[in-house]
């Protein structure tokens, strides 16, 4: 068994009285694509956001690419370079062009020169099929294009892991395909990915493992065929059934 690139153990998260994560263990291998599904409020997004410490876990341990994410001695800004994140609402910087969005962290975090950063950013936009939109502002791009720029912004830093937090949920149905295509090509290039999403078709086709969460716990996990066709747990069955009806 390969060394896990992401290892989260005993993750608890409280928001005041609310106990959102109740001791989650998740290990992800290098080049693995893990799909996290579950009803809203199950804690799947919170789990994802704990992995790069956008949310501070209440307790537990998280190691990503060998870095102890929760140690006070870890330079979190440096560590986050290794963990790309894509958000449901894209969160592109509206005052910058697509190229500027991708270049910012290359310049300020990775310390690249302007011309170097520009080359890398242009190449990243090329990978998501938007080389010709480099000088457009987010407002001039469709939702699907914005999300692809957001992916380019993350992969330009050459992360070891990519986290996707419902990347297609805010998109019109006809724009979902373009984003999934980019994710598929990332997958083919060997990127380790953890995806919170309801795109079951994509999960079935691309995921190595599907993790079903409910009420702050991982209920069951396994290969997509097993989770979707023969779920062991009653709650998983109910959830899969509900999703199918839509």
């Amino acid at each position: 068994m390969a060394y896990p690139i992401v290892a989260a153990h005993g993750i608890h998260k409280h928001f005041g009285q609310l106990h959102v994560l109740k001791g989650v263990d998740l290990e992800v291998e290098e080049r693995e694509l893990v799909f996290v599904i579950g009803p809203s409020g199950s804690g799947k997004s919170t789990l994802l956001r704990c992995l790069n410490r956008l949310e501070e876990p209440s307790s537990g341990s998280i190691t990503v690419a060998g870095i102890d994410m929760l140690s006070p001695r870890t330079d979190i800004n440096h560590a986050r370079q290794h963990i790309g994140m894509v958000f449901q609402s894209f969160n592109l910087y509206p005052h910058m062009t697509a190229l500027g969005n991708v270049m910012l962290a290359l310049r300020k975090v990775a310390g690249k020169s302007r011309s170097e950063a520009e080359d890398i950013a242009q190449a990243a936009l090329e990978r998501v099929g938007l080389a010709d939109r480099a000088h457009h502002r987010p407002a001039e791009l469709s939702g699907g294009q914005q999300q692809r720029v957001a992916i380019a912004r993350a992969i330009a830093l050459e992360p070891r892991v990519m986290l996707f937090d419902e990347p297609t949920s805010a998109l019109d149905p006809e724009l979902v395909g373009s984003v999934l295509a980019v994710m598929r090509s990332l997958r083919e290039s060997g990127m380790t990915m953890i995806v919170v999403s309801h795109e079951m078709g994509f999960a079935r086709a691309a995921a190595d493992r599907v993790v079903f969460m409910d009420h702050g716990l991982i209920v069951e996990q396994g290969p997509p065929a097993q989770i979707f066709e023969t779920p062991a747990h009653e709650r998983t069955r109910a959830f899969i059934g509900q999703i199918r009806q839509h």
């Binding site: 986050r80 958000f87 609402s89 592109l92 005052h95 910012l104 912004r153 993350a154």
Partner: protein, 226 residues
């Protein structure tokens, strides 16, 4: 002498105006100096306070909010008088220029802080998260991602407030500051003729009308589609 002539003689007396023009010009220079210093100090201090407030250090924020609310509720005239007539008994005698400058700068600081702060908080949380997730530090996120967006939102209320407070330079007359209004009113008492006041009013218009027009331009220029 008909009434028109008497009106001109009273309010636009050429002889009086010529005599006191240098005084009014001198006052104009003082007003400009004061206004520039008020704007620079007030906006800079307001921005610094808003940035410190974004660090979310609770006791510090209480202090900032207290100071800001204090200077937003005190009439600038009261602050000027307090500084000029009150501080000497505490061992520091600021000049009329310093008293007026400090008072107006503090008031502008207070309003500017609130406006900057409103701008900073109006930037979506997702902007912070996206920037931090790429490894940008808190400070870098503030400077490169949040402030540029916040400043655009603040530019219209900020220019209006800045103009309103900067016009308060005229309040300096109560502490015998030789700015436009002060020079004009002493000219009026020396000449027994209100013409210098008309010159003073004209000087204010010459000074502030371009600023008001510029503000209008800035507002439309930065009115901004997402």
């Amino acid at each position: 002498m008909n009434s028109w002539n008497r009106f001109v003689e009273t309010f636009f007396n050429a002889k009086v105006m010529a005599k006191y023009l240098p005084d009014i010009l001198y006052g104009t220079v003082v007003t400009i100096e004061l206004a520039v210093l008020v704007v620079l100090a007030g906006l800079a201090a307001g921005l610094v306070l808003a940035l410190v407030r974004s660090l979310a250090i609770r006791p510090l924020n209480w202090l900032i909010i207290f100071v800001v609310d204090l200077f937003r509720s005190l009439p600038p005239l009261v602050i000027i008088v307090l500084l000029y007539f009150g501080l000497p008994s505490a061992g520091w005698s600021p000049s009329s220029f310093v008293s007026t400058w400090l008072s107006l700068a503090l008031v502008l600081m207070a309003f500017a802080e609130e406006i900057f702060w409103a701008g900073i908080t109006s930037v979506a949380k997702g902007q912070w998260e996206a920037a931090r997730s790429t490894g940008l530090s808190f400070g870098q996120t503030l400077i490169y991602v949040v402030l540029p967006q916040a400043l655009r939102l603040t530019i219209a209320p900020l220019t209006n407030r800045t103009i309103a407070i900067t016009k308060g330079t005229a309040l300096g007359t109560v502490v015998a500051l030789h700015e436009i209004l002060g020079m004009a009113s002493s000219a009026v008492s020396n000449s027994y003729n209100p013409s210098p006041l008309m010159m003073g009013a004209a000087a204010y218009i010459v000074l502030f009308l371009p600023v008001v027009v510029a503000a209008r331009w800035i507002e439309t220029r930065f009115a901004w589609k997402r």
